[in-house]
């Protein structure tokens, strides 16, 4: 069928198809949405909400107040846990991981993309392999390094050393993937742009700093977010390196109250969980397009 009528039909069909796909996706993701939704709603209720129709909802803010006060006892003073300090520690690590991993991988990706050196191909291929190692699998080795470096420098037990070590060790796990992503961005930038700058007398570093880095800004944003979330969601490194020094962080605190659910209201655990999820939710709501594009092969600068 041709003409305007045919176009209208095609548009209708495609709209219908879209609705069907949307419904199918919604159905598939219902369990996940429901789980997160009920968790968030429960954090504002006096009891855990398990009814999707919210018939057992009994609204209150007390869970949030209790959690943010870090109160684990009925005692009016003395034993509150400092949630603000935990947030700061978690934030420092997450930001540290984000900036370290981004900076290192920006440099590494540029060299892989633009320079020819011995072992480049093998190195590039092994990047993804490196990313395949989960942090927990390396923990014994990472701990041994922590001990021996700490002993050699006489810094064992020093809080600043532990914090720096966690940032560097965790960032190291993110560098391979971030490098791989940045390589994709650099590869897409035409060589001619860089070439013309070099011809005009710019040095390699100037080109990298003034021309290439600004062109991959969306990529930097994406990698910063990815690596920030990786640091924020970390648990085992906080638990192994920081908790023994008495440095509390959000993940270890949440693990502690989840482990003691017999004594504590699950609604408070729900508030803690929701709070911990906030950055992830915020980033994914506001930057999902950017992140999806970054993962699907780079962005146009």
């Amino acid at each position: 069928m041709a003409g305007p009528a045919g176009e209208v039909l095609a548009a209708t069909v495609s709209r219908r198809l879209k609705i069907v796909i949307a419904l199918a996706l919604l159905t598939a993701s219902t369990p996940i949405l429901l789980t997160y939704g009920l968790l968030i709603i429960s954090s504002f209720s006096e009891n855990m909400v398990t009814d999707p129709l919210l018939r057992d909802l009994s609204p209150t803010l007390s869970n949030w107040i209790t959690f943010l006060q870090g109160r684990l006892t009925y005692a009016p003073e003395g034993l509150e846990r400092n949630v603000v300090e935990m947030v700061v520690v978690t934030l420092v690590v997450a930001l540290g991981v984000a900036f370290t991993a981004t900076l290192v991988s920006l440099l590494a990706a540029y060299s892989i993309s633009r320079m020819n050196f011995r072992g480049r191909r093998v190195f590039t291929a092994s990047l993804i392999l490196l990313h395949a190692f989960p942090g927990v699998a390396l923990i014994i080795g990472v701990y041994m390094v922590f001990l021996s470096v700490g002993k050699a420098l006489g810094l064992l037990g020093n809080e600043f050393y532990a914090l720096t070590y966690v940032i560097l060790a965790r960032a190291a796990l993110e560098v391979p993937m971030a490098t791989w992503l940045f390589k994709g961005f650099f590869d897409k930038i035409p060589w001619e742009i860089e070439w013309s700058a070099l011809v005009d007398g710019a040095s390699r570093v100037t080109v990298w700093r003034k021309i290439l880095v600004p062109m991959v800004k969306p990529g930097i944003a994406a990698v910063l977010i990815f690596t920030f979330l990786a640091g924020w969601e970390e648990f085992i490194y906080f638990y192994v390196f920081l908790a023994p020094l008495g440095i509390d962080s959000l993940p270890t605190f949440i693990e502690e109250i989840v482990g003691a659910a017999e004594y504590y209201q699950l609604t408070i655990v729900a508030a803690a969980g929701t709070f911990y999820l906030l950055p992830t939710i915020i980033f994914f709501v506001f930057t999902q397009k950017l992140l999806l594009e970054a993962y699907s092969g780079g962005l146009k600068g």
Binding site: Y74, L79, A260, E262
Partner: protein
């Protein structure tokens, strides 16, 4: 290529700058907080190590000596203070870490108050030394302090005193992490420690040496839901009395539970704790005459007969629909406690601490308003009768189980104080005196009342019967505390929990300690308990028969060479024995 080289140089430069900045920051921080080995936390002005040490050396005869412990706290702390002051030490600091339910904050505040009491003695005797206590944390999860202690000991960052379950003693003592306090305890055995309940010393003794002081203990009663039993025509008090007398065994409990269910009085017959609470269930093993000890003190013994009977009871209960098949997965707040307090089961294998937990948490659905609320002490008393854990079979005794909390002292206690290597004996003694004072009768009594635990010493039990003392607690008059911080922390909890009904309950359950079992302090026990937990889950779900589950436990032991070497299996699956 020249540009490549330039890039490389810049990269090296950046790394070098980072290192230099890091080193500068570290150096400045290092100046403020020296490394642990040489870390005086007190201001240098007050800890003139360099000045203090040579002085006695120059005047050789004046070198101070640490007098032996006398068993008198006042005398001993003054002697220690004189000794430390001679070395110029005027301030010592200890870190404490405890854990538990929200009402058990004495597990850290006990040491804070102990320091205040010792400081008062020092002040009264004109000494300059002051003892500080820093609270590392009061953790929600009971094992948190122990796990953190284990992680931080190699870094010399562990807390000096921790309040944790006694079952960690074997592990830590083997590692050399704990201070052996046997000699200190011997000095105090006839004075401050004389009225400690004798059965508790076993829980702190490992291979003949004492590594901790008991902090509290508990019993695990069988709660009998009065309304449910009355509905089925039973007298709950009579049932409780006959259980304690050994006349009602698990066979009768099974029949009562079945009867209750058939008559529609309750949905379930017997509920028990789950998950991490699996130590409770080992009461079945003891109730059927099982024991973990034998002629060789190095070995852990396993009686197959008792193990089989335990699993057979759980299997039968689940098959008859009296215990949920997925009991081990039930939710505490949504399923377990609401089912118990709303009277939907005949029996509940719980702990003494549940008595006050039901008064502070909203598990009960008010029949009038339909709203969730906590129970009043009067309601708890009206709803529940309680007894020992029933005997397995006629001729055997009813039992209960205790898992005492204990005060442990790190082998490096006081390590942050000045001149540690030379003065560590004095620092260790102060740590010991801190836990002795943290167990003062009034502090033990207060802890027992507010957290519904059983006191560890006779004097505390007596104090719990003193109307004047109880009245003070109930009205929030906490003038027994020297530390204002501690008094403020307890005032609301004390007002809430110091109810005559709760104290009567604790008094009435104290006799259970005579029937108590303490799980063995043996490195093989924890792995074995984990296997028990799996076996119980299998029989409850019907995935294994009791025979198969027993065989499963034995196979798991045989499959692990270490366990096989440490565990001695006794007896066989009984032939011709059936349950119910």
């Amino acid at each position: 290529m020249a540009q490549n080289r330039q890039l490389l140089l810049i990269a090296v430069g950046i790394v070098a700058i980072i290192i230099v900045i890091g080193a500068i920051i570290l150096a400045t921080r290092g100046g403020e907080q020296p490394a642990p080995e040489e870390a005086p936390e007190t201001p240098p002005a007050e800890t003139p190590r360099e000045e203090a040490t040579p002085t006695p050396r120059e005047e050789a005869p004046a070198k101070p000596e640490l007098k032996p412990l006398t068993g008198n706290v006042e005398e001993d702390i003054v002697n220690i203070a004189k000794y430390l002051e001679a070395f110029g030490v005027k301030e010592v600091t200890y870190k404490v870490h405890g854990a538990g339910d929200p009402n058990s904050i004495m597990r850290v505040y006990g040491v804070v108050e102990a320091a205040a009491r010792l400081n008062k003695i020092l002040e009264e005797n004109g000494m300059d030394l002051r003892i500080n206590v820093e609270i590392v944390d009061f953790s929600a999860r009971a094992d948190e302090p122990a796990e953190r202690f284990q992680q931080s000991f190699p870094l010399r960052q562990e807390a000096d005193i921790i309040a944790v379950s006694f079952r960690w003693i074997a592990t830590f003592a083997e590692e050399g992490y704990l201070l052996d306090i046997t000699e200190y305890v011997n000095a105090y055995k006839n004075t401050e420690l004389a009225d400690y309940f004798e059965s508790l010393w076993a829980s702190v003794t490992y291979k003949g040496r004492i590594y901790a002081l008991p902090q509290d203990t508990e019993a695990r009663p069988l709660y009998i839901i009065r309304a449910v039993l009355e509905c089925a025509g039973y007298d709950p008090d009579d049932v409780a009395r006959r259980i304690d007398a050994g006349e009602i065994t698990w066979r009768e409990i099974f029949q009562i539970a079945e009867d209750v269910k058939e008559k529609g009085c309750a949905e379930w017959g017997v509920l028990h704790r789950k998950g991490t609470a699996h130590p409770d269930l080992v009461q079945f093993y003891y109730a059927f005459g099982g024991s973990f000890t034998g002629p060789d003190p190095e070995k852990l013994y396993l009686d197959v007969d008792a193990l089989y009977k335990w699993l057979a009871v759980e299997y039968a209960l689940a098959r008859a629909g009296l215990t949920p098949e997925n009991m081990m997965e039930w939710d505490w707040g949504k399923q377990i406690h609401p089912t118990v307090v709303n009277g939907n089961t005949a029996f509940w294998i719980g702990g003494v601490w549940h008595w006050t937990e039901w008064q502070t948490k909203k598990y009960f659905t008010d029949p009038q308003t339909g709203e969730l609320r906590s129970l009043t002490p009067e309601e708890v008393k009206e709803k529940f009768a309680y007894s020992l854990f029933p005997a397995g079979e006629p001729g055997l005794k009813p039992v209960t189980l205790s898992q005492p909390f204990v005060w442990m002292i790190s082998a490096n206690a006081g390590k942050f104080n000045p001149n540690y290597e030379e003065l560590k004996e004095a620092y260790h003694r102060i740590a010991f005196l801190l836990i002795v004072k943290a167990n003062d009768p009034d502090l033990v009594a207060i802890h027992s009342i507010v957290s519904a635990h059983i006191p560890i010493r006779q004097k505390a039990a007596e104090l719990m019967e003193d109307p004047e003392f109880l009245n003070k607690l109930a009205t929030g008059n906490l003038d027994m505390f020297v530390s204002k911080e501690v008094a403020n922390a307890f005032v609301e909890i004390a007002k809430k929990t110091a109810h005559p009904i709760n104290i009567e309950f604790l008094k009435n359950t104290a006799y259970m300690l005579e029937y108590t079992n303490i799980t063995p302090l043996h490195p093989a026990y924890q792995p074995l308990a984990d296997i028990f937990k799996e076996a119980v889950d299998f029989v409850l779900k019907g995935q294994m028969t009791p025979e198969e589950a027993t065989e499963y436990v034995l196979q798991k032991i045989r499959a692990d060479p270490e366990l096989a070497a440490m565990i001695e299996v006794r007896g066989e699956i009984p032939q011709g024995w059936s349950f119910p």
